[in-house]
């Protein structure tokens, strides 16, 4: 292959001057982590609520939860990203005005975070529901028998158990979320993948730029894996496989 190797490219100055290419990557990494962190919070809160209501015995709550999951699961994430960035503001004039007036990066961040947060919430809801339904029926009945109300049964008995059981699938959803945040580049958000392609386009050192981004993603994935394995060991339910 005739390719001009240049691993020193990251310490060259960008055309704008004053910054070096590694700083672009670093900046992109921070956006990737920022978008992922905020969407993760949205996804966990909404996912816990939606997943929980799908296990209640109110038919309309269950239907609402099922509808939520089906809606976000059956439309490609890229299309959802376009909907949040291009379509939703058209229906909310004040939001549209704000998006035009503000720095585009804030508008992109808001759209990306809402899109990824709601998309992931549907997937987490599915895990939470499965976790709650995997618990023996006796747990709920025992909770009710000692006089807890329905919300208390969820708060003190079912959810603490369910969340500890579903840590492994939540780990892979978290990693999916970090990977999916790269789709925000389609609305112009300058995250890690965006920056690595930008460096490639400026310098034609695509190989080095993509290698750097790939390594960073692998490190993120391995770190997330280790952290969650640690959490899993700490909170594992005694008596279950994987518990202490």
């Amino acid at each position: 292959m005739n390719y001009n190797w240049n691993w020193g490219v990251f310490f060259q100055e960008t055309p704008e001057g004053g910054t070096q290419y590694w700083q672009l990557l670093w900046d992109g990494l921070l956006w990737t982590l920022g978008v992922s962190a905020v969407s993760w919070l949205i996804a966990m809160v909404l996912g816990a609520i939606i997943g929980t209501i799908r296990t209640t015995d109110h038919a309309w709550l269950v239907r609402l939860g099922n509808g939520w999951v089906e809606l976000f699961r059956n439309i490609p994430l890229l299309v959802q990203m376009f909907l949040w960035y291009f379509v939703v503001p058209e229906f909310i004039p004040p939001l549209k005005r704000w998006m035009i007036a503000t720095d585009p990066i804030y508008a992109q961040f808001l759209a990306a975070v809402l899109c990824l947060g709601l998309f992931t919430s549907a997937r987490i809801a599915e895990q939470v529901r499965a976790g709650i339904q995997s618990l023996p029926r006796g747990q709920r009945n025992a909770g009710l028998a000692i006089g807890l109300t329905q919300p208390q049964v969820y708060r003190y008995v079912l959810l603490p158990m369910a969340f500890r059981i579903i840590i492994p699938p939540l780990t892979s959803e978290t990693m999916n979320l970090i990977k999916n945040s790269s789709i925000a580049l389609t609305i112009g958000l300058a995250e890690l993948t965006f920056r690595s392609r930008e460096i490639g386009e400026y310098t034609f050192n695509f190989f080095e730029a993509f290698t750097a981004a790939t390594l960073i993603y692998v490190v993120i994935a391995m770190t997330a894996n280790r952290v969650m394995a640690f959490v899993e060991r700490r909170v594992g339910v005694p008596g279950y496989i994987g518990g202490r």
């Binding site: 890229l78 376009f82 909907l83 990977k179 692998v218």
Partner: protein, 227 residues
């Protein structure tokens, strides 16, 4: 704001062309991914240490990198690789559509590998031992005993993965390939009708994926083996 969906009806033939490419990409990537994924799964389960490590490394690498980045990687690498294979003077023009095919086959292979591995591991060890006791060799055991059962057990999961793949093919947008979403985006930008176009695209995807996953659920109940 005033919505005008005539932009959708006028561009239907063009959108259908895009959808044909999306379907072609989905089916090819699913079949190719299943073929290479099964080979990878056999490699991962192989007692030959270096082979199983190599397969594991490939699968883990593919699964820890975003698909968008993988698409960029191949868009850049495929011409260079073809150039070094054919010995041409300049990198050949492969085009976004064909690059996408190669990318998705190799990317999906990693995901189908994990499904097939789970499927193979779900087969009781007695089946393999019985096959060997009958005098079948490794190839016959796998082809005639283990893989057909693994495939059958995993069929719903394989189909679900294919529905996800169908949605993921929309990401070829990033290399400007004209799939369904790409075609819609081009018309939307030309006519400044983003709202109508993207709503239509979302609706089409929702209807297709929703009914397909409903069918998969029914199939799952139908083919479930009574144990």
């Amino acid at each position: 704001m005033n919505l005008d969906f005539s932009v959708v009806t006028q561009s239907l033939p063009y959108l259908w062309k895009g959808m044909q490419y999306t379907l072609q990409l989905t089916v090819t990537a699913a079949l190719g991914g299943l073929f290479f994924g099964t080979l990878l799964a056999l490699a991962r389960l192989s007692p030959i240490k270096w082979l199983s490590n190599l397969a594991a490394a490939y699968v883990n690498l593919m699964r820890s990198v975003p698909l968008v980045l993988v698409i960029f990687w191949f868009f850049f690498l495929v011409p260079l690789i073809l150039q070094s294979v054919t010995g041409a003077e300049r990198p050949p023009q492969v085009g976004a559509e064909r690059t996408a095919l190669i990318t998705f086959i190799l990317f999906e292979a990693a995901y189908f590998c994990e499904i097939m591995r789970a499927g193979i591991q779900s087969i009781p060890k007695g089946q393999v031992n019985a096959a060997y006791a009958l005098g079948l060799n490794y190839r016959q055991t796998m082809m005639q005993i283990v893989l057909p059962q693994a495939f059958r057990n995993m069929l719903p999961v394989l189909l679900t993965q294919t529905i996800i793949l169908f949605q993921d093919t929309s990401l070829v947008y990033v290399i400007s390939a004209t799939d369904f979403v790409g075609a819609a985006a081009k018309v939307a930008q030309r006519d400044s009708r983003l709202v109508e176009m993207y709503l239509f695209v979302a609706l089409v995807f929702f209807l297709i994926c929703w009914s397909l996953s409903y069918l998969v659920k029914r199939l799952q109940r139908k083919i479930a083996i009574v144990r």
